[in-house]
């Protein structure tokens, strides 16, 4: 009886997992098929012969190499900037003392609910006025600070005992030294979580990329993929190859760092 229950549990979990993973599997399987094989009924569940020419085609017909590089640059720059501003702000809001600190912080927390979609109109105007439209910088500077991540890191900083701070200060360390020598090493897991969440958000960003750029040379992968679809028509075997190029880096990241990402998401969802 107990064994049967266990079997049903595993069966249900496996079916559910199958449904969640099916689109990914189907994407990869379809990308390895020939055009003729993709359009057959009933569909074949494994390519008759594995073909890689769809990937070659994707890289040759659209600058996926450039898109990929742009995505890497934008994501790396966003993560670096976010970490820098977040660390400094979280330190000020948790360790430094100044009048009105907690009032200011709770005011900022209420800004967290402003949806980014609401801000695109003015942000676009700002970018254009600064002459940054259609540059990679335009894809980076609106995302250099985040209240949500500052909140996560501030909470972690607050959990570090005060005694550590006072003994460091007695030993003559400045606030600056204390932050980088003591707090940052301790906060590594939180910093990794923040970095990963931000990397995922940046890598997948679509709306702002579409608005702020209009040439191939500064496009990132998700919008490049969409443009590829519009330009080259619906050839699913090729589209699936291109989609695989976009999706695989994040899957690898997730498989490697599942725990950190899950911890981060469980603190309040993914801010998209």
């Amino acid at each position: 009886m107990k064994a049967l229950k266990k079997a049903i549990l595993y069966l249900l979990l496996t079916i559910g997992a199958g449904i969640m993973v099916l689109p990914f599997l189907w994407m990869i399987i379809s990308s390895l098929k020939t055009a003729a094989e993709v359009n057959t009924t009933p569909p074949t569940f494994w390519p008759e012969n594995l073909v890689f020419e769809n990937y070659v085609y994707a890289f040759q017909s659209a600058p996926f190499g450039t898109y990929f590089l742009n995505s890497v640059i934008v994501t790396a720059a966003c993560v670096a900037c976010i970490l820098f501003t977040t660390i400094l702000a979280a330190f000020a809001f948790s360790r430094l003392k100044f009048p009105g600190r907690d009032l200011l912080f709770s005011m900022l927390l209420s800004f967290m609910m402003i949806p980014f979609e609401m801000l695109i109109i003015t942000n676009y105007t700002t970018i254009v006025e600064w002459g940054l439209a259609n540059t990679l910088i335009a894809l980076i500077i609106p995302f250099t600070c985040s209240i949500f991540y500052t909140y996560i890191l501030r909470n972690f900083f607050l959990s570090i005992p005060d005694s550590l701070y006072y003994s460091a200060r007695v030993d003559g360390a400045s606030n600056w030294k204390y932050l980088w020598r003591v707090m940052i090493p301790l906060a590594r897991p939180s910093l990794i979580t923040v970095g990963l969440l931000d990397a995922i958000t940046c890598w997948n960003s679509f709306l702002w990329t579409m608005i702020a750029t209009d040439s191939q040379s500064v496009r990132t992968l998700p919008f490049g993929l969409y443009a590829f679809m519009s330009a080259s028509g619906i050839r699913y075997e090729r589209l699936m190859a291109a989609a695989t190029i976009v999706v695989v880096p994040m899957i690898l990241l997730f498989v490697c760092c599942r725990k950190s990402i899950v911890t981060g998401v469980s603190r309040g969802g993914l801010k998209g």
């Binding site: 549990l9 595993y10 979990l13 997992a17 993973v21 099916l22 689109p23 990914f24 189907w26 379809s30 009924t41 009933p42 569909p43 820098f84 977040t86 400094l88 702000a89 000020a92 430094l96 100044f98 009048p99 900022l108 800004f111 949806p115 979609e117 609401m118 801000l119 695109i120 109109i121 003015t122 676009y124 105007t125 700002t126 250099t144 600070c145 209240i147 006072y166 995922i200 997948n204 679509f206 709306l207 608005i211 992968l221 998700p222 993929l225 969409y226 519009s230 589209l239 699936m240 976009v246 994040m250 990241l253 997730f254 990402i261 899950v262 998401v265 469980s266 309040g268 969802g269 993914l270």
Partner: protein
């Protein structure tokens, strides 16, 4: 351990050169970015929504009033967007929550290969909505799509998911549920972590059945998490937009009948360049989010003692 604030001298409460410049230095990059790209555009878009006859190039406007709001509330596309967004949220959030609750309770039990199962269930969360949306477009394909193939095995006639306007919203909803499940499972699992397992143990000792334990003990204890998760999902679902691009080639549904609130905002701003109505719809989006955030705060406060 020293009590927090024990070292606080009197001068820390006052604004002196020391208590101002050092924190100001640390906060400068953060506040600068926030001021330019969040606070200023937020205020600006609210002001813009009240400006009548706004000229984007000269920045001139003819007056202050509610005409932009009147405009969008009489615009069939905006009303269509409100309707679709509400329907989307009303279907996606409850269904995704129930399915996620089911999976979370199974993942929370004592099973092997937990890591592998988690990876499978969480994968959609990290992938680009555009890229995986293209895969769904392919799954929904009328002639060769996998979904219609499975339906044909069940004896159901092929459905024209993406080109028959009647099925556009269901297609969006199914994709939305699949998309929302990972984050919901994670949030619920975090809620499970906070439940003391001894309650269930005590109940089992008293002879309670598994179902009774779930509905009488686990579920009530999970209620705050469940409420919060649903609100986070409602806010997330209210912003549905990007999904439309891969599925419908950037159109709001095959017959332009699947506007959403954010799609309308994008359409007014980027395609039609009508900044006033775009700003008004942005403010309405904000009000929707605001209402649910206040609800979230009320729930958090009410259940603080758990």
């Amino acid at each position: 351990m020293m009590k927090r604030g024990a070292f606080k001298g009197k001068d820390d409460e006052q604004l002196t050169a020391r208590t101002f410049w050092e924190p100001a230095g640390y906060l400068l990059p953060f506040m600068l970015g926030l001021a330019i790209f969040t606070i200023y555009p937020f205020i600006n878009v609210i002001l813009l929504s009240f400006k009548e006859g706004y000229n984007a190039i000269s920045g001139e406007f003819s007056g202050i009033g509610l005409s932009n709001y009147q405009y969008i509330l009489q615009d069939a596309n905006f009303l269509n967007g409100l309707k679709n967004t509400s329907l989307y949220v009303l279907y996606v959030v409850p269904i995704a929550t129930v399915l996620s609750l089911l999976v979370a309770s199974m993942l929370n039990s004592d099973i092997k290969l937990k890591g592998l199962f988690q990876t499978c269930y969480f994968l959609p969360m990290v992938t680009s909505i555009t890229a995986i949306g293209l895969v769904w477009k392919w799954l929904y394909n009328y002639d060769y799509g996998l979904i219609n193939y499975f339906l044909s095995l069940l004896g159901v006639e092929a459905i024209n998911w993406l080109n028959n306007p009647v099925f556009n919203l269901p297609a969006l909803i199914i994709y939305g549920i699949w998309n929302m499940i990972p984050m919901t499972i994670i949030l619920l699992l975090a809620g499970y972590q906070n439940i003391n397992p001894q309650y269930a143990v005590a109940a089992r000792v008293d002879g309670a059945k598994k179902g009774t334990i779930f509905f009488r003990i686990t579920l009530p204890l999970l209620a705050p998490t469940l409420g919060l998760t649903m609100i986070i999902n409602v806010i997330y679902g209210s912003k549905v937009f990007t999904e439309l691009f891969p599925l419908f080639n950037g159109k709001p549904g095959s017959a332009y009948s699947l506007y959403t609130v954010v799609y309308y905002l994008y359409d007014m701003f980027y395609v039609k360049w009508k900044l006033g109505p775009a700003a008004a719809s942005a403010v309405i989006l904000f009000l929707i989010v605001l209402i649910f955030t206040i609800l979230q705060l009320i729930i958090q406060r009410k259940w603080k003692n758990y």
